[in-house]
Symmetry: C2
Subunit: 194 residues, 2 copies
Amino acid sequence: MDERFRKQIDFIIEIDKIKSIFRKSKLFDNSRFENDAEHSWHLAIMAILLSEYSNEPVDLLKVMKMVLIHDIVEIDAGDTIIYSRDNTKTDDKEILAANRIFGLLPEDQKQEMIGIWQEFEEKKSPEAKFAGAIDRLEPIMQNYYTEAYAWKTNNIPAEKILSVNNSKIKNGSDKLWDYAKSLIDECVDKGLIK
Amino acid sequence: MDERFRKQIDFIIEIDKIKSIFRKSKLFDNSRFENDAEHSWHLAIMAILLSEYSNEPVDLLKVMKMVLIHDIVEIDAGDTIIYSRDNTKTDDKEILAANRIFGLLPEDQKQEMIGIWQEFEEKKSPEAKFAGAIDRLEPIMQNYYTEAYAWKTNNIPAEKILSVNNSKIKNGSDKLWDYAKSLIDECVDKGLIK
């Protein structure tokens, strides 16, 4: 086996570990926690179906690559609920993880993947803003359908849910933010969160 | 909420069920069976990294859409190991499932998704042949790394593994078939399969 192919296969095997990184939110049927591979798969389908609602035109292929790889760093850095972290900058542990894991790939693919991941983290390009919006929308939908499970369990007040997600989703899609806000508001109306 | 958006959201929630459809092969660390969402996620990453080995040039975006949605029909039709089915035609249960599940979408997206799924099933276009190749490659890699778990458990002889996968993988990628064949051969040499 040539070196380039060996590196690609090594990476493909390494990222299997993402299937054992569990998130704080549950499947829509409330049966168990969702893992990062399932979450990333769901976002890619959402990107295909909902990109018409992006505030700015996007390159769909790039959005899909972003959402498919965005959580690979959690193999080393773990999953953290967005409400407990500084969302203005990328965690140092995640930068180290990106270098180690994407570093398994041949140089050209390593550079492409790290570039896409950094672009996603920076949330400046239309693709990164839209990818960020659907990354935030999915757990809001999951909370809505599981009686606010992750929000209640982690004691997140509605005010914080609104403030942390507002700009991130709205920057990518006004339409998706209107929807997300309506779900959060309904959870408040039902007395599930304060 | 307008009707178009409501249909898109209904579909996005419905397909969450794919996360509870478990396959016959295990994760690379042998800890548990893989589900269809995780499998589809892994194939999409493999498509990004390995499309340079397709026998014919492919539209990567289309390959990714194919592998991300190809197993959605299993929500209704269930997962069947390829060695126990007629791989020359699509199961009627799967056609009914495609119509029901993709039928939740707005008409234009329903048509696009059913079209992509049918194209994948027919294995005639370069994209379908390559998507089919990686769909077959992943479980061969998983078997190789889990001491031939699914092959042994389901009593699949090497001859059948080779004949069922040979044309399907080779039609999409000679390079990937050479690799797949080397893994199967090694399992025979180790005495894991006959």
